[in-house]
Symmetry: C3
Subunit: 362 residues, 3 copies
């Protein structure tokens, strides 16, 4: 069974198959309008996320399928203490494919381990949100026309932003990609991203303090929010916050072909005076999110009947119940019956990483 | 683009087109059962209102369309602080038409200003609730057979009842309409309704203290609830409350063709011993609400492709960011990025009225 | 009109018709995929119950019908104080059949009394949950092949477990059924179940303290949860709790054809090491719940047009407004406008039982 828990579950070829299918769907809406007739998508949202939930819902409806589920754990059996594993087995009787959003990291992995139908991770805590990455990639494809030979600036919270990390990983598979990092000192890209991703894949990066100094170089500017709570020092926050707000003035030095992306919701990090600019692609990005989810649903349902398509949920070199994860929000620490699972880190350091959430052992 | 924010957005002719279509739908259910196949209605309910939400949902389903949305802001991105404007732009990617319920007055106006698809106001605070007015009108049409030459009594809270104000405005367009106002002193129809609506359109009205004294004259008795909280003086409430409760006894002097309407939910202002009386039309009114919403959805989707059909969201004589609205629940005071907008009052007094909520400036 | 409020509303023949239809649906999925096209099921869940709600939803979708409703009373008009009777009359305008879950006992009865469309009780407090009983029966039919000549063990909370009582009642209609009761002293099957059901229908039963001592005799082991809150004495709970937990070890003495049922959700009363055993039927039971609800919906919609099919909501020998129910959670004590209704107890003792909840008068 093929699931989508993390963007890396897809090979470069599989990912491009999904992108290509999304492009075909965009051009031939009618052709796909009954593609999933009689199929059901379960949207299991243990925390509210309207945009993601409605994107999946609209996607399945435009394929002629049905949608059932819950939009908040308070309205679900979770309040009666059912495990994620049991809920998955129950939902397997009601649906053909699952999209799960959970506040516990690794929840979608546990669900997939217990599922006879494909599971899509619609966000598990701050761990992974692969359909956002697919959305970003389809937007780059449609707006820029290619994945290789692009210079992409990431602005805002590069330390905690899971969408930033995932998109850098995904683009690191392509030639000629350059990354520009625009962040306050406190929110810089973590070292392991620089070393294990950029350096290992030969992706040049540079760090700058303001977007103005690099605006003219960029093909893509990927904006994220700088949250006050991330700062220990409020004065420091007040000092830097305006540096990471995009407005029409700052946009003047950008090239006409440059495109602005944002995973939304935005608060004030993009001024509304930018919205009418043709370079503002963030609302088009929302629609791309729907199209790429349509393509993903079609592909996963197709792959479910293909025994050669599998997701390796437990790596062959994983060790079971030997370590304890240091991440308190990891599902291995929160749900009974979930074995601890660790695999050797990819950097051959001898360290181990949690299979559910990629944290280190305690 | 044509929206429905306030009943006055529809001309008399457009309104009658919708009523006529509703009547045709009632007679030819099968003919419309796939009318909206492949279309999606977004029900964006920032506060719960089961009856209205399910009425829209049933309407769209009986047209063969799909429904997505949320039933409570707590389960939506609103908790993450997204503006109504941004949410509308996002939902534009997922649906073909929006029905919005909001606790902020003017929210549907802001949504319409940011929308490429039709927006229906499903109630914005105590400002407007136009599909209730359409429901009332279809019920009068079906039960009485005409809009002109009717005597209609309004009983209960005539001061704050938005459905009462809207229905009086709508009926004031017809000949021979007489209005009887049955309300406690504290909850009488506001002066501006008497002057700007009744007097200006030549609608005779009279105010009485009890329904018994006028029961025999009425073609329609429109009941609403008298809420205890509206009274400063609890003794006064206790003294008058029973005057505004309809029961089988009081109904004895009514004519056999008279009809009782109520927007529901009722608490105790209509005794259950009235329910079985053929003059009790309030549950039939619920079904009319579904039919008129079906007609409205069909018409707005049709008009969306007609460039001559527009809603003037910003009046030509409006002034921008000059005044501040005195209404704390007005969206211009609650959401960033919403310009203040005022237009001259229709009574040529030189006063201004808020474009979002019709309040005066501070 | 035929409703399903309590399993006893169905004759043995009607029940078998539903089971047989469920079996036909399982074998001929395609044949039923548009059986309810154009029909709408209203799921009115005054308290959350994800599994039951999604089972009904999936069932209606697999019949080609639509589903609308609410999943929690907080998001419904109930917060505005509308009665169950009025809500039912409103929903009659929007749907073709109702599934109602309510925390008040007798709520579905009141709904049915006010409904022109079939009402299915999806659980009313601790009173009745008939579709769980249908689910259990279909599972026994599919797993064991018959209803007669079976020995069924009930383990856990036999005092408060409504599913246990209902299933014993349903099976008591068949020949050769033997019941084994495995429960702590505090949670034994109530005397009236032993006398009015088992003894009256000639069903032999025995009470034991551990499942081990009877495991080899059983055709079916029906597990339920022993809740700590049911015990006055915590030490006593700690002493006995493990006796009522099923694990792989205890299962060793069971026959290969034995089957384990559980209404779910389970907490820890069935160890996860049992899940992979072919005798563990509880997740297959979930799917049976969907199939039997499909059959029930089809049958009730069919019977709605058959004047010979009725549910006797008010027994002919009932007395109105003479007694008051002693059950605080009975709808007759909680909702205005609901008459008190009592009927003579079936045991000819001269006692009376509440028509809504089967409690005694005060």
């Amino acid at each position: 069974m093929k699931h989508l828990i993390d963007p890396t579950d897809l090979s470069k070829q599989e990912l491009e198959e999904i992108i290509d299918l999304a492009l075909d769907i965009i051009d031939n809406r009618e052709k796909y309008s009954e593609k999933c007739k009689g199929k059901k998508l379960a949207t299991l949202f243990y925390e509210p996320s309207t945009r993601t939930r409605l994107s999946f819902t609209a996607a399945m409806m435009e394929l002629g399928g049905n949608v059932l589920g819950f939009s908040d754990a308070k309205n679900s059996s979770v309040s009666k203490g059912e495990t994620c594993a049991d809920t998955t087995k129950v939902i397997n009787c009601f649906a053909d494919i699952i999209a799960m959003r959970h506040f516990e990291e690794g929840a979608a992995t546990v669900s997939a381990m217990n599922s006879r139908i494909p599971v899509i991770n619609a966000g598990d805590g701050s761990h992974s949100h692969p359909t956002q990455t697919l959305t970003d990639l389809l937007t780059i494809k449609r707006e820029i026309g290619r994945f290789d030979n692009i210079t992409i600036g990431f602005c805002g919270d590069l330390k905690f932003g899971r969408t930033v990390h995932s998109l850098i990983k995904a683009l690191s598979r392509y030639e000629g990609v350059k990354v520009v990092l625009i962040a306050p000192e406190q929110l810089r890209l973590p070292d392991y991203m620089k070393q294990e991703v950029c350096d290992m894949h030969g992706v040049p990066y540079k760090e700058v303090d303001t977007m103005e100094e690099v605006m003219g170089e960029l093909d893509v500017l990927y904006m994220t929010r700088v949250q006050k709570e991330r700062f220990f020092d409020e004065d420091e926050y007040d000092r830097v916050k305006d540096f990471f707000v995009l407005d029409a003035e700052k946009l003047k030095s950008a090239r006409p072909e440059m495109r602005i992306l944002h995973p939304l919701p935005r608060v004030n990090e993009i001024s509304v005076d930018v919205d009418a600019d043709p370079r503002a692609a963030y609302f088009r990005q929302v629609e791309n999110g729907k199209f790429v989810r349509m393509a993903l649903i079609v592909k996963l349902l197709e792959w479910a009947n293909d025994p050669t398509k599998t997701t390796e949920l437990v790596p062959k070199d994983a060790v079971r119940n030997k370590f304890i994860c240091r991440n308190k929000r990891c599902i291995s620490n929160m749900e009974v019956g979930v074995d601890s699972l660790f695999r050797p880190a990819h950097d051959h350091s001898g360290d181990y990483r949690c299979v559910y959430c990629e944290s280190k052992p305690k």
